[in-house]
């Protein structure tokens, strides 16, 4: 089985699981009493944010490894993870305002969490544009590795913004030192969605990596 076929199979599995997440979240998970139906956006928004941060963190890790070892496989992986992370960031940044409007009364607010996340998104758009603008493979890999490391350095800061600043955005419910503060049914749906989005990330990156391997001009 080639890498491309493997990536397609994992992606298809992830899409089937995504349908399962939707069914479970809509029909088999209780409605939150204060927020009503809008709270169900949680099961898409939070896992999308998780996949985004995972993707951009791994860009940073792969970039460091590239600069240390000069192995172009790390550069290809970083390029794949950055593109996939940007897609998940689009999901995060569109579902977030749709949740904010009915609950906060506004689509957007320029607080630390939202602004730094938007900044990270723009930074990785810049990363992808940089890759497309440099034809020479070695220079492209070196420059984008530096940018990728700076981007990944923002990830822990973004996670901590809800503790460091006064913000409308809620604090972590699962990814925190203490036990998850969520009823069992909701937690099960959320964990299933985390798993599904991780599978989708792996499937997308595997396919994208295989594309980069087949064509050295694919940034």
């Amino acid at each position: 089985m080639t890498l491309k076929t493997r990536g397609r199979a994992i992606t298809l599995l992830g899409l089937v699981f995504l349908a399962g997440v939707y069914v479970r979240a809509i029909w088999f998970t209780p409605v939150e009493r204060l927020q009503g139906g809008a709270q169900k956006i949680f099961y898409v928004h939070v896992p999308a944010a998780w996949s985004t941060m995972l993707a951009f963190s791994l860009v940073g890790l792969a970039s460091i490894l590239y600069l240390l070892m000069k192995d172009e496989r790390y550069d290809r992986f970083a390029a794949a993870s950055a593109e996939v992370g940007t897609v998940f960031a689009c999901v995060m940044l569109t579902t977030g305002p749709l949740w904010a409007k009915p609950i906060w009364g506004t689509w957007w607010t320029w607080d630390a969490r939202l602004t730094s996340t938007l900044f990270l998104f723009f930074l990785f758009i810049g990363y992808l544009l940089l890759r497309g603008a440099i034809p020479e493979a070695g220079t492209r890999a070196r420059y984008s590795a530096v940018l990728g490391i700076f981007g990944a350095a923002l990830v822990p800061f973004i996670h901590l913004t809800v503790y460091l600043f006064r913000t409308l955005h809620p604090q972590p419910i699962v990814l925190k030192p203490s036990a998850p503060s969520l009823p069992g049914d909701m937690l099960a749906t959320l964990l299933f969605s985390f798993f599904t989005f991780t599978i989708l990330y792996v499937g997308f990156v595997t396919q994208r990596y295989a594309l980069g391997r087949g064509d050295s001009h694919v940034g």
């Binding site: 491309k4 990536g7 397609r8 992606t11 899409l15 995504l18 939707y22 809509i26 409605v31 009493r33 204060l34 927020q35 009503g36 139906g37 809008a38 709270q39 169900k40 956006i41 898409v44 928004h45 999308a48 996939v84 897609v87 689009c90 999901v91 569109t94 579902t95 749709l98 949740w99 409007k101 009915p102 609950i103 989708l200 997308f204 396919q207 994208r208 295989a210 594309l211 087949g214 064509d215």
Partner: protein, 39 residues
């Protein structure tokens, strides 16, 4: 608001689910197409 006091905000959730599915399915489709064209 529903009779049991639950706020009527499900429309936002449906919109979010549709957009998320469209983005993820769209990107899957793009990768499948790019993979089919690649050598």
């Amino acid at each position: 608001m529903w009779a049991d006091g639950t706020p009527l905000t499900g429309g936002y959730a449906i919109a979010a689910y549709i957009i998320a599915a469209a983005l993820l399915l769209g990107y899957s489709f793009i990768l499948f197409r790019r993979g089919s064209k690649a050598p």
